[in-house]
């Protein structure tokens, strides 16, 4: 060992480099911001849809059909599912599967940086974006469209945490088991549509059969719990527990099957 240290060539003029993890986070954030479509759909779209609906006078009147709520109030929790699922089921798994397919993870593993770091960084970037998109919609809903603020803020935060975790964990499973990026995109799109359907984004829930609505309460991110925390009497513990179980189970499966190359 000592011999190898003495064999070190005298260093050529050295370059002051930033910290590795910070540099990686910075680079990945830049790349994320260079994809305007994702930003548009994930951050802005749900808010725009809600604002557009709020511009229709008839939808600002309370109705028995919506349990005495206005349509905007009734529909807002469903819209939260859009940005959570776009980022968790499409952006995250497609990004990771692409990195694996193109050998970007492998290239990292040939450097002192472990490829797991890029996975964590992408996970964080997507989570932060979900938080920003959700916050934007809450602010616009409450301050612009006069939707009441969540009645159970702590329960709402918990519901958001668990629902988002469950969706992202499923996204990691997709990233783990799909050998090709295209397949990850395809499976992610199907999963995305299922979550949106059960969240009542495509058809508002009053148009869905009761059985589907009940099932939908257990489909991540669990819009039933969001609704109950926002407008109702608080989320049913069983819904939250199911989200937590899905999050833990799916993360375990993803960790078990994830391949770096």
């Amino acid at each position: 060992m000592t011999e190898t240290t003495t064999a070190t060539p005298t260093p050529t003029p050295q370059h002051r480099a930033p910290r590795p993890l910070r540099a990686l986070a910075l680079a990945e954030t830049r790349l994320f911001l260079r994809d305007p479509m994702t930003l548009l759909i994930a951050v802005v779209l749900p808010t725009v849809v809600l604002a557009a609906l709020g511009a229709v006078p008839a939808l600002r009147e309370p109705s028995e059909m919506f349990g005495g709520l206005r349509f905007t109030d009734y529909f807002a929790p469903s819209l939260l599912a859009i940005n959570i699922a776009v980022l968790g089921l499409q952006n995250l798994p497609t990004g990771l599967a692409t990195y694996r397919e193109k050998g970007i993870l492998r290239r990292l593993s040939a450097s002192p940086m472990h490829p797991a770091a890029v996975l964590v960084v992408q996970l964080l970037i997507n989570v932060v974006t979900v938080v920003i998109g959700t916050a934007l919609m809450l602010v616009v809903a409450v301050y612009v469209l006069d939707v009441p603020a969540p009645r159970h803020p702590v329960a709402f935060a918990l519901t958001f945490l668990l629902g988002t975790s469950a969706v992202f964990a499923l996204g990691l499973v997709i990233a783990a088991v799909t050998p090709r990026a295209r397949l990850a995109t395809g499976i992610g799109a199907v999963a995305f549509m299922l979550t949106q359907f059960f969240a009542g984004v495509y058809l508002p829930k009053f148009l869905l059969p009761e059985a589907l609505v009940r099932i939908g309460e257990f489909v991540p991110p669990g819009v039933g719990a969001f609704q109950a925390a926002w407008m109702g009497d608080g989320p049913a513990p069983v819904h939250l527990v199911v989200m937590a179980v899905i999050a833990v189970a799916a993360t375990t499966v993803a960790a078990r099957f994830f391949r770096w190359e």
């Binding site: 050529t12 370059h15 480099a17 680079a27 790349l31 290239r107 450097s111």
Partner: protein
């Protein structure tokens, strides 16, 4: 002490053996070639050296480190260019080098590397918009940005046009002058002949020869061909008794002598002693390709 020592390396994927038995050592400061046709086990061998794959048998030491156990320490002193690895489409050339520089304790200056590899004008170009040759040069620059003691370059000139390939060779020699030991995986004979101090020829997962390019060529017993017209007739036996000569053939007035070693001196001096002048004397030197074909029975072009 050798920089890299590979001892009876064995590696299989499921029931397919990729590397049967490979042993060689690489000395400090040399350019060591790993030559073989596609599928011979070259890449698997260097991936075991790099610690990207774990061997099923044998042992490897790189700068005194075990690639499996001392992975982290090895990563800091080893520059690796992978055969097929890309970067994110929208990552720019300068950003990529800055990023990878940040991973190493004492990196080279990314700006200088960009200059050296002819990428300075492409600093702000996204990876997805680079040509094949530019991607390849960036990949080499990334392998060197950590200021490695050993650089392992796998098929580095694949995808480069002839001019870019020559430029790359120039740069590899420059890297070596900087004190870096280089392991070059290639199936290009010209590249191996031009750059390598020593070459390990790998065929079907085994090392079948290790020597300098000249040594490999000289090892051919009948690789050289000497053609001439004798000024006066002479007996074949005058030449066939020479140890350097393998065969003598006559085509009309032309004589063709095949052999190895210092064939030219041996033949001309013997002819001179018999008062024969060799007119229109031509020597055809065998190439590394001839040596490779003789060693493996086929050329690299399958």
């Amino acid at each position: 002490m050798p920089v890299i020592e590979v001892d009876h390396l064995h590696k299989r994927y499921r029931d397919q053996v990729a590397v049967h038995d490979v042993s060689f050592s690489v000395e400090e400061g040399e350019i060591f070639g790993v030559l073989g046709r596609n599928g011979a086990g070259k890449t698997t061998t260097v991936e075991c050296i790099e610690g990207l794959r774990s061997p099923d048998g044998g042992s490897i030491s790189v700068l005194g480190l075990d690639p499996g156990r001392d992975r982290a320490a090895l990563r800091r002193v080893l520059g690796i260019q992978l055969q097929a690895s890309e970067l994110p489409e929208k990552l720019r050339v300068g950003e990529a080098l800055e990023l990878y520089a940040s991973f190493y304790p004492s990196p080279l200056d990314p700006g200088e590397l960009l200059e050296r590899w002819g990428l300075a004008a492409k600093r702000d170009t996204a990876f997805g918009n680079l040509s094949g040759g530019q991607k390849q040069r960036l990949s080499i620059a990334l392998a060197l940005v950590g200021n490695p003691q050993v650089a392992i370059l796998d098929e580095l000139t694949t995808g480069l046009d002839p001019q870019a390939r020559r430029d790359a060779w120039e740069s590899i020699e420059q890297i070596r002058r900087g004190g870096v030991t280089v392991v070059l995986v290639t199936h290009f004979m010209e590249e191996a002949e031009r750059l390598c101090d020593r070459i390990a020829v790998i065929d079907a997962g085994r090392v079948i020869a290790i020597d300098t390019p000249a040594g490999l060529v000289a090892g051919l017993s009948d690789g050289q061909r000497l053609r001439f017209r004798p000024s006066v007739p002479f007996e074949d036996a005058v030449l066939t008794q020479l140890p350097e000569v393998a065969s003598v053939q006559r085509n009309g007035p032309q004589v063709e002598v095949r052999g190895g070693g210092d064939l030219l001196t041996a033949v001309t001096s013997t002819l001179a002693r018999h008062q024969v002048v060799a007119i229109d004397l031509r020597l055809e030197q065998p190439t590394l390709d001839d040596a490779f074909v003789a060693l493996t029975g086929r050329s690299t072009e399958n």
